[in-house]
Symmetry: C2
Subunit: 152 residues, 2 copies
DNA sequence: CCGTATCCATTCCGATACTG
DNA sequence: CAGTATCGGAATGGATACGG
């Protein structure tokens, strides 16, 4: 699938959207991340998504390494779809979308917190070493010198 | 359009995806944000998107208040599509996607910087008041008490 | 109950042609 | 250059049927 949807876009955002840019993808991942859903029927009931589409999305996530499919031991036990680290690390994308929707479209019912101390957590634009948040208008893109390695 | 794609999802991320979740939407906004594109032909050439789709996306953005259409004064002058504050504030979403794609899919050619001092800028999960970044696995969702107002 | 598979209607998308 | 119109194909949705 990679390289099909957004050909000739040499851009990491486009690469990411190849995997999570289709309809329902980010909402499925959201429920996996923040509701702890792992089973087909949980996603299906919550989202009201067509079953064939949901099956395709889960299959894509497993193939892309965002989720791991674990077959239940006992027969009749349903498979579980659990997020990998690669999948988990999409949290900032979901949270950024949620924050924006909260502010500009329609506030939703949830906010995010650090489970270790209960304090609210937000996505922020920051200089790597600095303290102060950077205004969106001040963030610009710049061509980088050398490419980092990919985590597997 | 709002409420059509993801009905019954009381979730700010779903509200956001109603506006920017369709194919090409985020890449168009990315080029507007970080390449400074404002004209139909600029987006079209860079993305290779079908012209009818691009026209529809730009129209949707204007209707949703993400862009403003400015008609050139002289006849034959093309219209310009410029981001509003509402549109600009999607930068964290784009940057979060880019960072994730860089790390987990395929590194792209750009990184982000603060134009005021040239220092690199990243999206970080942080406690509102604290200093330390929060690990993705420690971020949980929590129902909020009262809903904030929407910025217009 | 947990999924998978299939059929059909609708929507979305891409390529092309065309107009001002 | 900036779109609009059209048409065929792909993706999607809904319903249903099927097997464990």
């Amino acid at each position: 699938m990679l390289g099909r949807l957004y050909a000739n876009q040499d851009c990491a955002a486009a690469f990411a959207l190849e995997l999570v840019g289709e309809r329902w993808s980010l909402l499925i991942l959201r429920d996996a991340m923040f509701r702890g859903y792992t089973r087909f029927s949980q996603f299906q009931k919550k989202l009201g998504i067509a079953t064939n589409i949901l099956a395709k999305r889960l299959e894509t996530f497993v193939a892309a390494g965002l989720m791991e499919r674990r077959q239940g031991g006992t027969p009749g036990e349903p498979a579980e779809y659990v997020l990998t680290q690669k999948g988990l690390e999409l949290k900032p994308v979901i949270i950024a979308l949620t924050q924006w929707g909260d502010k500009w479209v329609e506030p939703g019912p949830v906010l995010f917190a650090n489970r270790t101390d209960g304090q609210p957590v937000t996505v922020q634009l920051r200089e790597a070493d600095g303290d102060a948040e950077v205004a969106v208008a001040d963030v610009v893109a710049r061509r980088r010198q050398s490419r980092p390695k990919i985590r597997r």
